[in-house]
Subunit: 164 residues, 2 copies
């Protein structure tokens, strides 16, 4: 066992559970992270990055599903949880790439965080060139969903920086 102490909390994030559904994409939500006092100096210089990786504990997840149908879609293959971003994983650690909106210690505002209000934050990392894969290969079912969401939520227009 290895234990960690949160460095901050999502004081305003996604609402559960309706907001994860139909009304708006996570890229239309600005999330507010509050970093605890003892760690705020760790934020210095983060403003020189456009994006960051938020690592958090998905604290409301209960149980593990080792094999899952992605997004519960019936005609998708049942795959292992390590082949999905499903939260019901052995260690419910969330890793999300977000756009940095503003930093005013102790508050960091980001766009695109996939975490509910109240989520404990374990780490914030700068997104750098080592995080960019130019043409990642993904399964057909991921591509299908991506195309659906890309059009539905107007990614090209609203989050032009987003891959592939």
């Amino acid at each position: 066992m290895v234990c960690f102490k949160p460095v901050g909390i999502v004081v305003e994030g996604l609402e559960k559970p309706s907001e994860r559904g139909a009304c708006r994409s996570r890229f239309e939500v600005i999330s507010t992270i509050k970093i605890f006092d003892e760690f705020v100096d760790g934020l210095d210089g983060l403003e020189d990055y456009s994006h960051t990786i938020v690592v958090y504990w998905m604290h409301e997840v209960r149980g593990v599903e080792l094999k899952v149908k992605p997004w519960g879609v019936e005609r998708y293959p049942k795959v292992g949880v390590f082949a999905t971003r499903s939260p019901a994983r052995p260690n419910p650690i969330g890793v999300t790439v977000v756009e940095l909106v503003s930093i005013e210690k102790p508050v960091v505002k980001v766009r695109g965080l996939d975490a509910w209000t109240g989520t404990p934050v374990l780490d914030i990392k700068p997104y750098d060139y080592y995080d960019v894969v130019k043409n990642p290969r993904v399964p057909w079912w991921f591509k299908e969903k991506w195309d659906e969401w890309r059009q539905k939520w107007k990614y090209e227009e609203k989050v032009p920086w987003l891959g592939p």
Copy 2:
């Protein structure tokens, strides 16, 4: 406090500490991760991705440096640890994008992992389009080091999929 149980271990990774230095880049090392028996079925379908994100506990890191000179370079600004990928962070959780080389349960081989032999693995996530930022902004000092390493380790030739 939040506690996690490793799902696997890096049975063969970077050697410490010399290998992190001059002889070869982490992209020239194939690391071997062994997933523990109870979780191996979680790997099904991961082979359809070209890259994955390995989340691990940097178990040998001791202490936290809240402000750091990146890579110890004197003329670089002292910045907050959340603006660097320094391992001496409040929660020593490593997040590294790697190329998938092969999966033969319970063994996953990857290229580019920045973890020493013996490192406990907390999660494996597929790298998908939501992890791609097309033109991330980074500080001048990161760019400088990137250019140095890109040339020294021949990234264009050896890891053509790597950003920016």
